[in-house]
Amino acid sequence: MHQCRLILWNIVLVYENINDSTKSLSLCLRLFYRYRDLAPQLVPLDYRGRPAVTLPYGLIASMPELKDNPFRQRIAEVFSERGDGNMTLDDFLDMFSVLSEMAPRDLKAYYAFKIYDFNNDDYICKSDLEKTVNKLTRNELTPEEVSLACDKVIYEADVDNDGKLSLEDFQHMILRAPDFLSTFHIRI
């Protein structure tokens, strides 16, 4: 009984310190158990000492929510600490909380931009767009069609006329696409 009260006090104290409204205790616990289920022998139950456990990209990409997503590699690279797709528990939590329905639009737009920016230069240039289109269409289009589609996108969305999309252009485009909040969403 005394232990139960201790646990409850602990939960309340920790909960009051949450500085991020996208997380809730239940979601975090669920995500921890999903992370642990990927490799039970690697992930300890006791996280007080902040153990440096990193799961390889192969395990993350085998999750049923991600295994058929054409952008799974970019998602894992964007959220992993070193950009190689291997994720710690913190990275894993960040990833699924950004992709949950509680994350604000700006946060989702920021990470969607990073996912589509293949060469990590803070701009979505034509080559990034071509790679995106190929992933979206499973390489079924001819190079000319891909090039034409990318030119149309840049013509429409580029506000400052520099031939590539910056984060502001992308956010401006997101404002005009109300479906984005519901499509950039993975349920866990």
């Binding site: 232990q3 669920r30 058929d68 429409e156």
Partner: protein, 578 residues
């Protein structure tokens, strides 16, 4: 069913395990103390800046409110079943089909709220003052609503008009006032909830949006991350590539053909609508009830080319037909049944609504059977070129709105109708889900989910709720309640209960303020005139502010382009000079 029970138990075991092995204590500091600075900054900026649309929902979205709401909703374990079902549907069919099931769940919650209100405030007190039921129960009453059910709390006629008090000189419960105030306050709450949901949805999905979503947003913003089924992903990729191919080569001939087909379909449907309405009117005059479902047999537009605009899929002809049928039935009930010499006309209307709800529910299930199951059999064995059917979101949502309209009309005459509708909706949810999984393929047409959801809310508000409010208004203010049954027997109108109560209050000095509010605010036309004037002034001001901001945006965009052009000219000149 077994998968849900298994997952539900698994989740419960996880939580028990974490509490008993103190995993919560071991893990939560790591889980919740954030070390990602970027995430922190953006989250802070997003919650403090007024970047979201400046509607009054800004104050409702304070961080702590949202956190509390999220936590509460996650800890309703009963919702776990819905969560898993919705996840599976979203994973295989995407957010467009998911929006139908989310809408259905929302209507279910609505009906639960109205059932609890009516049951708590009207039915439970009635149980204390109930008269014994002398009629016998045969199974047929479930289908006709008459017979044994006439003398139960299901219908208006059974409720007493007395003031119930169990203890001598103890607190008493005035059934007349309870009935009219419960129904009135319920509709006011419905009105406000729908108004605010619609406003919030409209702000988010329509205000900043272009009339036509261009290529940019189609490529970068519409990939559905919630689809996790391999076949569905491949299908979506194929559709997207066909769309891009067509868009680079589309001509005007295809557009004209599409317009011609639509005009013909409209003319045919309007003709059918007029014929059906006249038929219903004459049949109900002769006391026969037939529900024409001819329009349901009109096939929905097949996947004709991927560039078909999804907004036209929403069948406005369906809406017009259904609303006109409901309108004619209301006219028949209020003008003919109410004026007839029958003993208890409100109970008769209640029975009619009950039967309509039941028939609508059966037709919904049959529609699923014929439209999806048989169509799949035909598409896979007899006529293979047709293929698997698609889930017709527009038609199904309109069926839901129609069912909800009937429930709202029936609340005054049959207070427990929302409970019946709740059971019906739950059965429809599971039947539709099973039918979807086994018979349908993922949609190939583009479906603008957010805007369609706003349109559905708008339809639920404007023809549906507003129409019901006018019907209820006419019933309460103008019609004479029947003499021998119900809580308003003997009065000249249902509203007379309130005016009589105010008259009795006038003799008490402690409640003079209530009388003053009633005479000067509720029944005075001047007050409503002033209120409408103020609301119109505010609406006009907001409209002008929005117009001004749009002009500012256009000017600023032009400035950005001019400045960047100027810089490029300057660099060219410098390069030439050097």
């Amino acid at each position: 069913m077994c998968t849900w029970v298994k997952l539900y138990l698994q989740h419960l075991l996880w939580l028990l395990d974490s509490i008993t092995t103190h995993t919560v204590m071991l893990v939560t500091p790591a889980l919740l103390f954030h070390r990602n600075k970027v995430l922190n900054e953006i989250t802070k900026k997003a919650t403090h800046r007024g970047a979201q649309p400046s509607c009054c929902t800004q104050c409702l979205q304070g961080a702590s409110f949202r956190r509390l709401g999220n936590t509460l909703s996650e800890y309703f374990y009963l919702l776990w079943i819905w969560h898993k079902a919705l996840k599976i549907i979203g994973a295989e069919f995407g957010t467009s089909v998911l929006s139908y099931f989310v809408f259905l769940k929302w209507l279910l919650n609505f009906n639960l709220f109205s059932f609890l209100m009516n049951f708590g405030f009207i039915t439970i007190p009635q149980f204390l003052a109930a008269e014994p039921n002398n009629l016998s129960f045969t199974g047929l009453e479930l289908f006709t609503g008459a017979g044994y059910f006439q003398q139960t709390v299901l219908y208006y006629g059974f409720y007493t008009n007395a003031t119930i008090s169990k203890i001598e000189n103890g607190p008493s419960y005035n059934m007349q006032l309870a009935y009219i105030f419960t129904v009135g306050i319920y509709f006011v709450i419905c009105f406000l909830i729908l108004l605010f949901s619609m406003a919030k949805s409209f702000c988010r999905n329509f205000l900043n949006v272009q009339a036509y979503s261009g290529n940019a947003s189609k490529l970068l913003c519409t990939w559905d991350f919630s689809i996790t089924n391999e076949k569905a992903v491949k299908l979506k990729q194929k559709n997207l590539s066909t769309q891009i191919k067509v868009q680079t080569t589309e001509g005007t001939k295809l557009m004209f053909l599409r317009i011609a087909i639509h005009l013909f379909a409209w003319a045919a449907s309007l003709g059918t609508a007029v014929a059906a309405c006249t038929g219903v009117y004459f049949l109900s005059i002769n006391n026969l009830k037939v529900r024409p479902r001819v329009w349901a047999l009109l096939p929905s537009l097949p996947c004709v080319g991927p560039a078909v605009d999804a907004v036209t899929v929403l069948d406005f002809r369906n809406i017009i037909l259904k609303m006109s049928i409901v309108g004619i039935l209301c006219y028949y009930w209020l003008n003919i049944v109410a004026a007839s010499e029958s003993q208890c006309w409100e109970t008769l209307v209640g029975q009619d609504v009950y039967r309509l709800v039941l028939v609508d529910f059966i037709f919904c299930l049959l529609g699923s059977f014929f439209g999806e199951f048989l169509r799949r059999i035909i598409g896979t064995t007899v006529c293979v070129s047709l293929g698997l059917p698609e889930f017709d979101i527009g038609r199904n949502v309109l069926d839901l709105i129609y069912a909800q309209t009937l429930t709202w009309i029936g609340i005054l005459f049959s207070p427990l109708l929302p409970g019946i509708q709740m059971i019906a909706f739950s059965i429809v949810f599971f039947v539709k889900k099973v039918s979807l999984m086994k018979n349908c393929q993922p949609p190939c047409k583009v479906w603008r989910t957010a805007q369609m959801t706003t349109s559905f809310m708008f339809l639920l508000f404007c023809p549906s709720l507003v129409g019901v409010l006018s019907v209820i208004g006419v019933t309460v203010w103008r019609l004479k309640p029947s003499e021998g049954c119900g809580p308003f027997r003997g009065l000249s109108s249902m509203y007379a209960a309130v005016s009589e109560w105010i008259q009795t209050l006038e003799s008490y000095t402690a409640s003079k303020w209530v009388v003053w509010i009633y005479h000067n605010l509720i029944t005075s036309e001047l007050f409503f005139f002033i209120l409408s004037g103020i609301v119109l002034i505010f609406a006009y001001l907001y409209w002008q502010i929005i117009r001004g901001r749009k002009t500012m945006t256009k000017l600023l965009r032009k400035q950005i382009i001019n400045v960047s052009l100027a810089f490029s000219y300057i660099f060219c000149i410098i390069w030439l000079l050097c």
